[in-house]
């Protein structure tokens, strides 16, 4: 992960940046004057940790959205490399092309083979373009489905890592059936015979996320969001203005805590203090344990039970008011 001065700071992380700058100054002074300032430096380093804690406690929903998009945040391949061994990336949907916004392949995780798939964002301008900002085209979803079917054939559990601002809204995407591709994935995933563990590791935007997001267990990392539309788009449609994104983020109740509270996701995976971008190894290690435990939890049941439970679980989601039939008759 990037170290200071290559670290990037969000607006509410600026106090941490100031502390880093002070440390840097002290280090320079120490070097020039040959005075031992390590005590003061340790103090400042502790102050940074304290600040990270402070920030974490008071995060607003919009700040969580910002953290999920932090430029230094680890992406799918980082997690795969840190959690797995023997990863072999598999390419292409066998139809149109290889969509680089979605990566996937076999890997060893906790001593067993899994199929691991996820949206991939780019770490710099050039890579961001190649990865299309993690926005998949239909062929990306079809590649994912091909890999999932491969896993099913060889009875390997599937792990998906979700991190997308949405499915790509492009001309070719429509020509090649973006809606159909996502619909097919949702339909097929709910019927997969092997355990499927889904983790929201960054942005979980709508259908684009669900296209690889249906499973026996859905985990959400602490600083992520998952809902039907991005706060920006929601603001522009419902408030007719781009300026209400904070309010939209609040109204949408899109944080991990909210989603867990509603029963729409199963568990929250803690992140390093202040967010996953502070320590990639720690973030990956925590996540790895959660995934291994989740697979173990579902491995023992037979596949028909798993499928039925999946259908039943999603079938319960929703809220409505049901009037008694007698009442409606008397009306």
């Amino acid at each position: 992960m990037p170290q200071y001065p290559n670290r990037q700071f969000l607006d509410f992380e600026q106090p941490i940046k100031v502390l880093f700058e002070e440390i840097e100054k002290l280090k320079q002074t120490a070097e020039k004057s040959k005075i031992d300032l390590s005590d003061s430096i340790v103090k400042l380093e502790n102050a940074i940790i304290e600040k990270r804690r402070e920030i974490t406690i008071s995060l607003t929903p919009w700040q969580r959205v910002q953290l999920s998009r932090h430029p230094d945040r680890p992406y799918t391949l980082k997690y795969i490399n840190n959690m797995c061994t023997n990863f072999v990336e598999l390419h292409g949907d066998r139809n149109i092309k290889d969509d680089k916004a979605i990566v996937g392949g076999f890997a060893q995780l906790g001593g067993e083979t899994v199929m691991i798939i996820g949206q991939q964002k780019g770490a710099n301008t050039k890579l961001r373009q190649i990865r299309n900002f993690g926005m998949a085209n239909p062929e990306g979803y079809r590649k994912a489905l091909r890999l999932m079917k491969l896993a099913e054939k060889f009875n390997k559990p599937i792990v998906t890592l979700v991190d997308t601002p949405g499915a790509y809204p492009g001309l070719e995407a429509e020509e090649r059936g973006q809606g159909e591709a996502i619909a097919r994935n949702i339909y097929e995933m709910i019927r997969l015979k092997v355990p499927v563990i889904v983790v929201i590791i960054g942005e979980g935007a709508s259908g684009g996320a669900l296209g690889i997001g249906v499973g026996d267990k859905v985990l959400m990392m602490e600083n992520t969001w998952y809902t039907v539309i991005s706060p920006e788009s929601c603001s522009s449609i419902l408030w007719r203005s781009w300026d209400k994104k904070e309010e939209a983020a609040k109204q949408l109740k899109l944080t991990a805590d909210d989603m867990k509270g509603f029963g729409l996701v199963d568990e929250i995976v803690p992140e390093p203090l202040g967010g996953a971008h502070w320590d990639y190894d720690e973030a990956a290690n925590i996540l790895k344990d959660y995934i291994i435990n989740s697979i173990a939890e579902f491995k023992s049941s037979d596949h028909q039970t798993r499928i039925n439970n999946r259908i039943e679980k999603f079938g319960k989601m929703g809220f409505w008011e049901e009037m008694l039939t007698e009442e409606t008759e008397t009306k």
Partner: protein, 312 residues
Amino acid sequence: MKKESSEDIEYNLTGSETDHPISATDATAPKSKWYKRIRKGITTDTADKKETPEGLWNKCPDCNFITTTQDLKENLFVCPKCNYHHRIGSDEYFETLFDNNEYEELCDNIRSIDFLHFTDLKPYQKRLDEIHAKTDLKDSMRIGVGKVNDELLVVACMDFQFIGGSLGSVMGEKFCRAIDYCIEHKLPFMCISKSGGARMMESAFSLMQLPKTSGKLSQLSDAQLPYISLLTDPTFGGISASFGMLGDLNIAEPGALIGFAGPRVIKETIKRDLPEGFQTSEFLLEHGFLDFIIDRKLLKDKIHQLILLFKG
């Protein structure tokens, strides 16, 4: 004009006043051209002039052809001149499909509530109440069971008037219960889609209707009962990313706009104009996502024919 007005698919999801082409005549139309004055000096006082009842006349948004609403209704709300298919609601579709307009409505006792206390420019509950008061609809989908040329069929039909036909918890639940009914009574299922997409005021709950309905469809599939998905103008977002595109047969009305992302969003993303006919039924047929396009006037017989083919 038609293309311009349907550009902003997402706007329909705000639950604001939508221009419903059946009930609203175009206020900006130059009415002076409707009649030619033959004799000079009409003597009726302005006070005695009869008001034209609203909705008596209807202008085709595509070709500007003017018909009486009565004539248009008899033509199943299809323009007699250019075959433009006006947007209609569940009442009209049920009347078109079911013999003698006889059908039983299922689960009309469930209604949306504002579980999340979602407030944009207006509280969600207030929107629901207002739209209910205005349209008498309880939500954006109704389920009817009736006979199509003597063959029983369960039809789930969306109402675009209700917050842009948006997909919320109630639609998801009704859709699932309709399928349960099909499985219990061994009946074929048809869904008529007309929706701008997910209902944002229900946030992630609305999103989860995608796996919910898809899971239920897989049970219908296991029961080997056919599912026909009819896509009408417009069908976007969450509908096309779930049950809208999952029919054993996907069919559409002519000229309907169907897609995942709305045209405005695509245009802003690619920063280019969209080709003519983009995202129309004809475009989808050409790209292999529809089985066929069907005129509304032929719909009933075609559905009947299909039911017999599945049965035989």
